[in-house]
Structure formats: C-alpha cells, structure tokens
C-alpha cells in the first residue's frame, strides 16, 4: 500500500517538478533580496542565524536545474 502511495507521489512530482523548481527558485531569489536588505538595514540580524552562502549555493543549483528542465523550450 505504502509502495503504491510512494509511486503515485513520485509520478505526481515528476510531472510537477518543473513548477516546484521554478517556485523554489522564485522564493529563494526573493529570500536573498529580503535577507540582504535586512542585513544592510540591521547588521547581524540575518547573519547571526543564517549563513547566506548556503542559500546562494542552493539558489544557483536550483537555477541551473530550472534551466536544464526548460532546455527544450529554449532550443
């Protein structure tokens, strides 16, 4: 039963992953802008809790995946 559910979920995300990746990319871009602005206005407020380097790396990876997924459209 769990296996069927897992396969269903996997298929659903295979179909939707393009949308999910795009949305994550948008939210990460917004997060970066918001965090940088917050850090400029109130130094330490973000960097004392979050290392922005990791968000930047994650944002780059997601960005590249989005580009790869949409490669056919560009071609």
């Amino acid at each position: 039963m769990a296996e069927v559910y897992w396969i269903g979920l996997k298929e659903f995300f295979m179909k939707k992953n393009n949308i999910i990746l795009q949305e994550i990319f948008y939210i990460l871009s917004s997060s970066l802008v918001i965090f940088v602005l917050l850090e400029l206005a109130w130094p330490g407020v973000v960097l004392s809790c979050i290392n922005l380097n990791w968000i930047l790396i994650f944002w780059l990876i997601i960005g590249m995946l989005v580009l790869l997924k949409n490669k056919e459209n560009y071609d």
Partner: protein
C-alpha cells in the same frame, strides 16, 4: 489544476519565508529583554556572531582538545548585540594551573584614554586574607575584612571610619571625606615643567583658596587624529567643570610639533576637599607645563613623561612600579628606591616591586610611561594619597599598614575541574561601536581580560585555560519601551 497547485505551493513557500523573517526579527528585538550567549573555547571552529574570539593571537596557545590557553596579558574579546542592553552578567569558566594570583575582566568605557571598568576574576591576596583575618558581611554583597575584629557590621565601619591609610578597597565604591588637618593654602606659584604626553589624572586639595591651574599644550602631529583636548574637574566623583580645545578638522600626521593652546581652571568658592582633574587627550598631545597655586598634586596610577624631559625625580607610594618605552633612545636604568629597574627593550613592560611605603623614582631621560598601583608626584611636599589603596597583587598589606579591607568580591567557585567566576557590568555608559548607516541598533562592546604576571615574551611556561564565556544580557522589554514612548510623550 496547475494553477491551483501553483497557488498552494506559493502559499506554503511564502508563509515559510515570513516565519523565518519573523523569527530573525524576534531574535534581534528580544521582546522580553533577556538573552544569553555562550562562547565555547573548545570549539574554535564554530563561528560565534555575538562573542568574538580572543585576541591577539600571539598571546594564545592551543593545547590538547582544541582548548585555548592564554599565555600573555591582556587579551581582548568583543560582544556584539543586535539591540541595546543595560546590564551584562559574565560567567567565566577557567583553569589556573600555575596559581596566578590576580585576574580581572573589564569593559571598555572610554576609547580615548582606554578606561576599563574592571571586575574581579580572582584575587589571591583576598582569598588568603578571607581565611586569615576576621570577615564581616554587609547587606549589599560587600565584605569587611579586618586584621583584628573591631567593627561588628559594615555600617558601623562606614560610620566610624579609621584613618584612610589603614583602609584598602577592591571593587567597592568607597566614599570618604578626606581632609588634611594641618593643611594651609600657599599663594606660591608652582610649576611642572617636565612635558607630559597623552592623558592623565591627578588629585589636588583645596581649602579656602581658588583652584588655579594653567595648562599649555602642543601637538606632535604623529597620528591622523583630531587632537581635541578636554579637561574635567571632579569633586566626589562628579564632574563639576569642564574645559576643552576643539581639534583641527584637517587631520595632519606630518610629525611637526605645533602649539595647541592653553586651558585655565580658575574657580573660586570651592568647599574644602580633594578634587580630581582629568585630561582626556590622545597620545599626540603634550602638556608642556602646568602652572598652579595649589600645594598638593599627585598623579594617579599612570604618567607618560614625554621626550625632552631630563633628570626626573618622582615620589611614589606604589608597591609595584612598571615602566615601558616605545623609543629606543629612552632605554635606561631607572632607580626605584634602592633598586634598579632596567628598561632593556622597547614595547615591553618591566616591573619592580618596592616593599616600602614610599619610594623615589629617578630617570635620566623621558619618553617613558610609568605605571603604579599608587600615586606619583614631582615634589615630596606636594605628594599626598587621598584615597584608599586598591587591593591588587602589587599592594603590600603589611608595609602599608593596612588593617581594614572593604570589598565586593566573590571567590571563584569550583565546578568539576573548572573554576567559575562571575562579573556584572553596567552597560549604560559602555563604549559602543555602531555600523554606519544602519536602521537597527547593532553595536559592539569591547572587553579585556587582564592576568597579572602573564607575559607571552618570557620563558616561563605559565597560562590560564579558558573553557567557556557565558554572557547574560538584560535590557528593557518591548512592552516597557512602548510604555516609555507614551510616558515620555505625556
């Protein structure tokens, strides 16, 4: 279907972002006004945004299990906070394998004259006296240590004070109305013509006379500073008058000495007692001469005799005299009482202990900084010590005839293999560094840890090992702030 799905996923992601931003703002505002930060010295790999690493590196050594040992003093660390706090309680976990006798932790209060508010970590003299002498505890955490039990309570002692020469204090705000019974004012003009460099503080005594001090200044222009000069006059620890010379806005470091002007304190109708004058200036400023009509004048703890001073004779009651120079031409042998203090290297502090109540210091040339745990005077007749001595490692209790010690001191506790000391600081007038153009209140405060006798440049393998520093900060809660806004408006 796709549109509905996109809406759902957007809602989840944006909600997560708002929660994160809310959490970050909560951490910064700390609405309850209390926060606790810990720096673990055994985990130097973990970046702590609030408590910075100990510096300078040359005075630290990494020993087993990544633990940091301090091998030279002083060492510094800074504390960054995202909002203003009023009080800090610092807990220091340490090991003292070499049984070093005296350590203090201090908060920087003034960056021009590098004034620190020092609090005890450990004081071996006090630890021993608490065991050997009679101890009476006060209601506000103070302690009276007596050679022979005469006073039953601290209040009784404070109401019937013995002679100030018999009292020593430590970390206690001791107020005494010191009066010189046989003092009579002179109209004679006195002069200190040995040039002095940088800031200093001195005591003087007034009785039925004008306070009359004339200072002449020059600037060495060695550093790009504004070269402003401020003189503060204190009576019973309160500033009663101030005078200043505003520095030039053109920051010059051409090394050409220029006249910086004069300041004159001429105040009448002052009540009898001890007054303190403080010069707040950077190290470019030279006091060329001080002309005064008072007969008592004693410099407090530190005196930088400028280049050009010759054949200097100074009287001191310091039991530990230290000297340092930055000028190779000023290396010399300094006579302290019957002993010689050899100033053999630049940028290094040399100490000598004097077990006498007072001693004379003789120097051939200037550009030497003198430090001591007492006062310095250029003239035997003008020498006086109007305050109770501080119980530090240099104080010779027997030679100075100390019979009573009033302190606010907690002996370090033993927890496992560590010793734990606590110190409380009032942060309201701490020196703070702010980031430029910020909207928040992010600020940085600086602390010092001083361990007497610990020198990184000597061949002795002595150290203090630090385990953890915990800082508990207390400030106004958000509710109090909001109430404050309305109250102030009304």
């Amino acid at each position: 279907m796709d549109k509905k799905f996109i809406k759902k996923i957007r809602l989840v992601l944006w909600l997560s972002l708002f929660i994160i931003v809310g959490f970050l703002l909560y951490q910064a505002i700390m609405p309850n006004g209390v926060v606790k930060y810990t720096y673990d010295f055994s985990r130097p790999d973990i970046v702590n945004h609030f408590i910075n690493k100990l510096t300078p590196k040359e005075r630290l050594k990494i020993i087993n299990n990544n633990i940091q040992a301090v091998i030279g003093e002083p060492v510094y660390f800074s504390l960054r906070t995202l909002r203003k706090f009023d009080k800090a309680k610092i807990t220091l976990q340490y090991q003292n394998p070499n049984d070093l006798p005296f350590a203090e932790i201090g908060l920087l209060k003034d960056k021009i004259i590098w004034r620190y508010d020092l609090k005890p970590i450990t004081n071996k003299t006090l630890n021993q006296l608490i065991l050997a002498w009679s101890v009476v505890y006060g209601t506000n955490g103070e302690m009276l240590i007596q050679r022979e039990k005469k006073y039953q309570t601290v209040n009784e002692f404070l109401k019937n004070l013995p002679s100030i020469n018999e009292i020593a204090v430590y970390n206690y705000d001791f107020k005494s109305n010191y009066l010189l019974p046989k003092y009579s004012p002179t109209k004679q003009e006195n002069k200190i013509s040995q040039p002095l460099r940088g800031s200093y503080q001195f005591y003087t005594y007034i009785k039925n006379e004008k306070l009359d001090f004339k200072f002449s200044f020059s600037s060495l222009n060695q550093n790009k500073n504004k070269d402003s000069i401020k003189l503060n006059l204190y009576y019973q620890d309160k500033i009663i008058d101030s005078q200043k010379i505003d520095g030039n806005d053109d920051l010059i470091d051409n090394g050409k000495k220029i006249d910086q002007g004069e300041l004159h304190f001429d105040i009448d109708n002052l009540s009898e007692g001890v007054y303190k004058i403080e010069l707040v200036a950077n190290d470019d400023i030279i006091t060329e001469q001080i002309i005064f009509k008072q007969s008592k004048l004693s410099f407090i703890n530190r005196l930088w005799l400028a280049d050009g001073a010759k054949n200097i004779k100074i009287q001191t009651d310091s039991n530990l005299v230290s000297a340092q120079t930055v000028n190779p031409a000023s290396l010399q042998t300094i006579k302290v009482g019957d002993n010689n203090l050899i100033l053999a290297k630049t940028y290094q502090q040399f100490d000598i202990a004097s077990h006498k109540k007072s001693a004379s210091i003789e120097l051939d040339k200037g550009d030497v900084i003198l430090f001591g745990n007492g006062v310095f005077s250029f003239d035997q007749n003008s020498f006086f010590e109007p305050v109770a001595r501080k119980v530090d490692n240099g104080l010779d209790i027997n030679a100075n005839g100390i019979n009573y010690i009033i302190v606010k001191y907690q002996q370090p506790k033993e927890v496992d293999k560590w010793q734990v000391a606590e110190a409380e600081f009032d942060l309201t007038n701490a020196y703070r560094e702010y980031s430029a153009h910020q909207l928040g209140y992010t600020n940085k405060m600086n602390f010092l840890i001083s361990i007497l006798g610990l020198n990184a440049e000597d061949d002795i393998d002595d150290k203090i090992i630090f385990g953890k520093i915990t800082v508990e900060l207390y400030g106004r809660s958000l509710l109090d702030r909001i109430k404050g806004i309305f109250y102030e408006k009304k």
